[in-house]
Symmetry: C2
Subunit: 339 residues, 2 copies
DNA sequence: TTGAAAGCGGTACCAA
DNA sequence: TTGGTACCGCTTTCAA
């Protein structure tokens, strides 16, 4: 796909590259290029469908007009939605998005960050695996524009846009309590992610605040890789004597889905026997019987804010750090104990 | 983020850029650069964390090692899954993916294709809005490597990786028939997309083959924008006298979800009153009561094949067109009339 | 075995 | 108002 270049136009029109470049970047008036010349160039360019080579342009200008997006998994609906939003907003400001998924691997994340830097992205939006302090620190040290989303490093000061995990879980627990539940369990993933720690903390603090005891077995942590496998035992353990759980908060939407499957298999009725709340929506949660109460994550807002903050950071190198924490809402349906 | 350049190394080491370039591209042996020189260069590069500027590299080599992905909407789970897969496979071959969503707009799609070409992507994977013959033809004319996915243009010969929409719908209808349904409706989107036409065709042909009459009202077409709004009337119309539908095939997963919502509201029992099958999965379909029978789309395979075909096309300019049509499976659950 | 230099396609500064 | 030219950072050819 050989495109016409500035050189080509220059030769054909016998006008210097510089003049042409100026005109085609719409700075003809500013640079006082005569109307005639401008028209001639514009016409010729249009006719031959001239398009600047962005690689060359980027190389020359020292910026690529690309921003990099790094997420754990683009096929996760949460990140997919954020990505869509980021893409949408970035494009409005003339940026393209280049993305990659880390699969929660620190090594991969590190490679991806480097790869994007090699491609000269102008800024980075990262939902980090959070085992990657070095790279984050390096970016920071180099004053490279970036924003952390969804997950942040509590002991590194950076721009970030996250959500109120603590508050969200708190809402979930409160809701169960409101429906008279007292033995409330929390099913989550093996920690590592700050977000999950916060959710756990939100759970335990709220329980405590309400004077509800937490037995050791109330809190169950699964490995990401073996959720389906282990959910069975976990549910069984916390529902049966002596734990007698009557409410469960699931730390993620997919944990909730897996949990519901097991509750069904064990013939445990929702919400009569056990009321549940999911941290995070799934698109058919309203169709399940009973419909599932869920904490709604602000994915669109995260995407929006991330781009805003990043663009600002790209413009003014040191405008201080933006630390945004978005509230999560609860969508109340029957699974939490409605009558 | 100022990186060290070949120049810098050249100066420091007093070795020419060319030699360094060769060595750092691992062609030192091939080009008979002495071991000593190689080591010296490698060591220095590692120490100073040299990374080639991909913009410059791309400009010089005339290829960017990027492939562009254009889909209607990256936040749609179907495309998100494909994207993940494409990204995964592309990366294995050293390519990065740059993506954008068209929102089903022809104009946007056209712009995006151009934008990616401007960025010098080495190839394009496109799930086209299908109102965009010109661009596709242009790519073809220029011998630019690209693959159409999910949707193709029947009257333009190109590489494509699609799924068997006809066969999928056929499976769906057959399944309903197997459960004794005879008045089967088909709820779809206003056409435009080839895929939807094929699904419609799969429906009507199968009905005919089975000797089942199709009344005009059996086939209902909704606008993408007003699904929730219109689903109510549509369901009502086909379920009530005189149509008395006892089975429905939904042409997409979200139509199915919307349909189920309405069936519930109208107190129509699934599958006793109306049995249903969804073309396309949704992650909680197995949790709905009754669990929803669905045609499972081969998203992973589409992603895999798309990359395979594209890479091949990029390697050998005219290896002929690859036309891949993947089978869809049916996942049978209770909604289709199981007892 | 290594180096010099041209070129990839732009941008931008300085002269004219 | 326009042109010449250096430069962005890398690859590659040709000479040495």
């Amino acid at each position: 796909m050989k495109n016409i270049s500035l050189q080509d136009i220059s030769k054909s029109l016998k006008i210097s590259k510089s003049t042409i470049s100026i005109v085609l970047n719409d700075r003809g008036d500013e640079k006082r290029i005569s109307k005639k010349t401008q028209e001639k160039i514009q016409k010729f360019a249009k006719k031959h469908n001239y398009k600047a080579n962005q690689l060359a342009r980027g190389l020359s200008r020292g910026k690529s007009d690309m921003i990099g997006l790094i997420v754990p998994n683009i096929s996760d609906s949460f990140y997919a939605r954020i990505a869509r939003r980021i893409e949408y907003k970035a494009e409005k400001s003339g940026y393209n998005v280049i993305f990659s998924s880390t699969g929660e691997s620190k090594v991969k994340e590190s490679q991806l960050i480097q790869s994007m830097l090699d491609r000269q992205v102008d800024g980075l939006i990262i939902a980090s695996s959070q085992k990657n302090e070095e790279d984050i620190k390096r970016l920071k040290r180099n004053n490279f524009p970036f924003v952390l989303i969804d997950r942040h490093y509590p002991n590194i000061e950076t721009n970030y846009v996250i959500m109120d995990n603590y508050g969200g879980t708190s809402l979930a627990v409160e809701q169960l309590i409101k429906h008279g539940r007292k033995q409330i369990g929390f099913i989550t993933l093996k920690p590592g992610l700050e977000a999950l720690k916060e959710r756990l903390y939100g759970y335990s603090q709220t329980m405590e605040k309400r004077g509800l005891p937490i037995k050791a077995e109330y809190i169950q942590e699964l490995n990401y890789e073996s959720i389906e496998l282990k959910m069975h035992q976990v549910i069984k353990k916390i529902v049966e004597v002596p734990n007698n759980i009557d409410g469960i908060v699931f730390a993620t939407h997919f944990l909730a889905a897996a949990g519901i499957r097991e509750l069904r298999k064990l013939n445990i009725r929702i919400p009569m026997d056990v009321a549940i709340v999911s941290f995070g929506q799934m698109s058919a949660f309203d169709l399940i019987e009973p419909p599932i109460t869920a904490i709604q994550l602000p994915s669109n807002e995260i995407g929006d804010k991330a781009v805003d903050v990043l663009l600002k950071n790209m413009k003014e190198a040191d405008s201080g750090y933006e630390k945004i924490c978005l509230k999560a809402n609860i969508v109340i349906r029957k699974s939490c104990g409605m009558l």
